[in-house]
Symmetry: C2
Subunit: 548 residues, 2 copies
């Protein structure tokens, strides 16, 4: 009596649609490529609700703690806007406003009764990628075969966010398997970019990028093994943190290729500001995640590190390496301009910028591609077989089935190559520091070779994945938007290789006009305090962040 | 024209013997089972030299820094005593007093000229397990096929110890492959325990245990993937630190099964006191090892952690769980008494002791044994084939060739089982803390089921290896010595299983009379500051350590 995968997907789609109350449903047609203005003209949200969703998380928790706002009000506002987001860009795999509002009422009552908040996120709605487990709710991770099973436990991060006072209300869409940087699956189809439906919202935390970009969420939580937090952040004009492995808990998450430890997937936030990012990270660390997840390092937030780098920033004393091209694939003109804008701003503020040579990035890209495919796709393809659903487009770009399964000794040899590459990269940093006679604070580089990309065009993962291979800390900073009047296509370019040729061919100034441009700020392993502060400074210089 | 493995081994043995100057050679027969008294009666060392080798490292570096002792004098004393050690217990695979003395002279000159030490270990001889690479010196790791090749680079820890001012003079013996807890190889044969030639010095850092136990070394450096620092420490009445993975650098070491990352081997010191251990660890951390080895966590010595636990100790406020048996193998009577002594002393000092249930240790032992053998021994057996040498006795106890090679997906499944076990163990700790209403500071447990063991009798690795699987921090503390008048054999014991039966059968009060007894103090991952302080307190209560 088993259903076809199409029936399972239809049913799930229907259930998601049914979770949206009648009064939050969009009536009539949506015109235009962008849906960003819709909330203010829809009539579904009032001015207070609009203003709540357009605040910062830092402000919201402060106001809730002071009794100036209730969690019910805040949660209602975000639920409404999230409901619209789903209807407009197709970003939710689970939506549960009733559970969220019940939780919000409890938190409001607690505060009223005790006069105390339960934690530093008291009352704040947080959206989760559909990879986090919440007891009683489904986790499909984009696989049809996983639809219908309710989770029996929470992921550790979910537990700790609850302890800190968070409210969950939505789990957002991901690409089938997570191993792709666009968001499409056979359950609900494609999630599109709220700024332009012809652009991807990125992936694999693409639903998070779309919902937070649309302000149907204030802090979203994604995961990143090859760019999956950073790409959706970049494509939705958001800040995104890929912490180093071991800083934030990952235990009890759903995943493909579980137990693959050569390159670890990590959790991290997508936010509108570094201040909100810091609120999230410090809130999680305050809950001592290392007592719950053995992979988390007992490393509380290091305030002295933050203070030290802020002192350097204040005196215009940062030392920052940068590059525009990794030598494999030249970024499109908007991204090259993004790097120029950021380095110019930093120089004008008195900081020291020097060109960084992207050491053996070509080698690293090949190595990590082999790691992603090290089981020959066994785990992922087995999961597809269970339901009979087909693979999504672009799937083979990251898990290349032509790369055959390796054996244990070969895997160990890959582990060793990775470690040696990491050691050599550290050596390059040390040598540069010796030459400069001072410490390097961060590296600035592209995060993708393109601005928010057109559908089915995401080809090159190298700017993202080398950072995963190094396990360096990275924060994506939104810079500006592509402009067809400035970002002209280069004539007579000689491609570096086939991949570069494909990527260059995709550039079209008119099609990318207005697409978000971002860069990433990168530091050695476990330098979250430092890199977040540098990212905040860049945001401040660009005028894209208001420091509270 | 290739030589037989026997000829290669003979040549290496000859070269080691030839490295000992004529005036340091032992004439005549050595009588008795123990060689511990030999240095004071040999005539090779004068009283000043004897006194130097019987000092603490903390004292020696202080005196050298103050100009009260030269590095040449200190190095000479340890070279002499190490030369005796090798002749008496067969513990060296490389001995290079000339290089050491040249280095010592340089350091003395530097201090004289500049008035400054080069680092916190200025002038101090440090012995290394023959797994560390020193440029220009051989690393055999107990494999005949590796003999004869001089290293082209230093291991990272070697580089950092040199920066801190250390002097290297000897590399000590290991069992072939390192995967055994007795020290025997086909190059120089067996290393014996200086307290009794019928006992093992432990392994795999057995040469370190023997040479430091004999005071031919003051701080020895070993590695531990299944007890290899802790067992030689226990068998030679020493303190030994197995730090958690990522605290100290391991990069550029020689190893078998390189790239195996399911359970990491780690480096750590074997010392006569926690004070010397702390000197070593803080000296290495001061050199910022995370800038050289990507696996090292940027975590300097956390003085506030040490201060906090010391305050607790001072007020008799420690909370310590303990157990005597892991439920798999019951320790011999001397070890059971060792646990009793330690827990009684702690209770008398006002600390709170509670019984700890060794959660699923049987499961963990099976799991880690599968990990050690996960390539079916391919890597190790291939290395033996290169020279044609046979496997050493006991080899199959840890790398069981009946456990067949697993594939990549199976390895990932093992990784996941390990992680889940670690998470469950953390949960047990949290639950116990909830019940107790306070934080658990450490666990006290056996490190081996036997006192220093008779040759070829090391069978059960479970007390050691579960800690490796958990990646918990462990410090071995010497307690006392087996006593045939107290530690009677138990009559009519019903063995728990075949392994327990074998281990129990080995106990013989007369044969073990006088053998060192030790316990280990264990804490969560990366709790070195805390666990070292607790170990120091236990040593102080036992009278086995003088805190400076």
């Amino acid at each position: 009596m088993s259903r076809s995968w199409e029936e399972t997907a239809e049913d799930k789609k229907f259930r998601i649609a049914a979770s949206i109350p009648e009064e939050w449903r969009i009536k009539g047609d949506i015109l235009g490529d962008s849906v960003m203005e819709y909330p203010s003209i829809s009539g579904i949200m009032d001015d207070v609700e609009l203003s709540i969703t357009e605040s910062s998380a830092v402000d919201l928790v402060a106001k809730m703690a002071a009794g100036q706002l209730t969690s019910v009000a805040v949660t209602t506002a975000f639920c409404k806007r999230a409901a619209m987001a789903h209807q407009l860009v197709n970003c939710a795999l689970e939506f549960f406003p009733d559970i969220a509002l019940a939780r919000a009422r409890e938190l409001d009552d607690h505060l009223k009764t005790t006069g105390k908040v339960v934690g530093s996120l008291h009352g704040l709605p947080i959206s989760l990628k559909d990879q986090f487990r919440i007891k009683g709710i489904e986790t499909s991770m984009g696989y049809v075969s996983w639809v219908g099973e309710r989770d029996k436990t929470n992921s550790v991060l979910v537990d700790l966010l609850l302890k800190a006072g968070a409210v969950f209300y939505v789990k957002t869409s991901v690409p089938q398997s997570l191993m792709v940087c666009e968001t499409i699956n056979n359950i609900i189809g494609r999630t599109v970019n709220p700024r332009n439906k012809n652009w991807s919202c990125g992936g694999s935390s693409g639903g998070e990028g779309a919902i937070v970009g649309f302000r149907g969420g204030i802090i979203g939580v994604g995961t990143d093994i090859g760019g999956s937090i950073r790409v959706p952040s970049a494509f939705n004009f958001l800040y995104g943190l890929r912490p180093s492995h071991g800083r934030l808990p990952y235990a009890k998450m759903a995943n493909s290729m579980e137990g693959q430890e050569t390159v670890h997937s990590v959790c991290g936030p997508l936010t509108h500001s570094v201040a909100d990012m810091r609120l999230f990270v410090t809130s999680v660390l305050n809950e001592e995640p290392w007592k719950y997840d053995s992979k988390v390092i007992p490393m509380p937030w290091r305030q002295p590190e933050e203070d030290a780098i802020k002192a350097k920033i204040a005196s215009g004393g940062l030392t920052i390496g940068f590059f525009s091209s990794d030598g494999n694939v030249l970024p499109h003109p908007p991204v090259l301009r993004g790097i120029d804008i950021v380095t110019s701003k930093l120089k004008s503020a008195g900081h020291d910028l020097f060109p960084w040579d992207p050491y053996k990035h070509d080698f690293a890209v090949d190595l990590i591609n082999g790691i992603y495919a090290s089981d020959g796709g066994t785990d992922v393809f087995d999961t597809l077989k269970e339901s009979g659903e087909p693979a999504i487009p672009n799937f083979a770009d990251l898990i290349n089935p032509s790369l055959s399964k390796i054996d244990v000794n070969e895997l160990w040899s890959v582990n060793l190559k990775k470690w040696n590459f990491q050691i050599e990269y550290l050596e390059q940093l040390r040598l540069a520091e010796e030459t400069l006679g001072k410490e390097i604070d961060a590296l600035v580089m592209p995060i993708t070779p393109t601005a928010a990309i057109r559908h089915n065009q995401f080809k090159y993962y190298g700017y993202q994945s080398v950072i995963n291979l190094l396990d360096f800390t990275s924060v994506v900073v939104p810079v500006t938007f592509a402009d067809q009047n400035i970002d002209k296509k280069v004539d007579q370019y000689t491609p570096l290789n086939k991949m570069d040729e494909k990527v260059q061919a995709e550039y079209n100034p008119a099609a990318y006009h207005g697409a978000p441009i971002a860069i990433q700020v990168v530091g050695r392993r476990l330098t979250e305090e430092r890199i977040m502060a540098v990212a905040e400074e860049i945001g401040r210089l660009l005028g894209n962040e208001t420091t509270p």
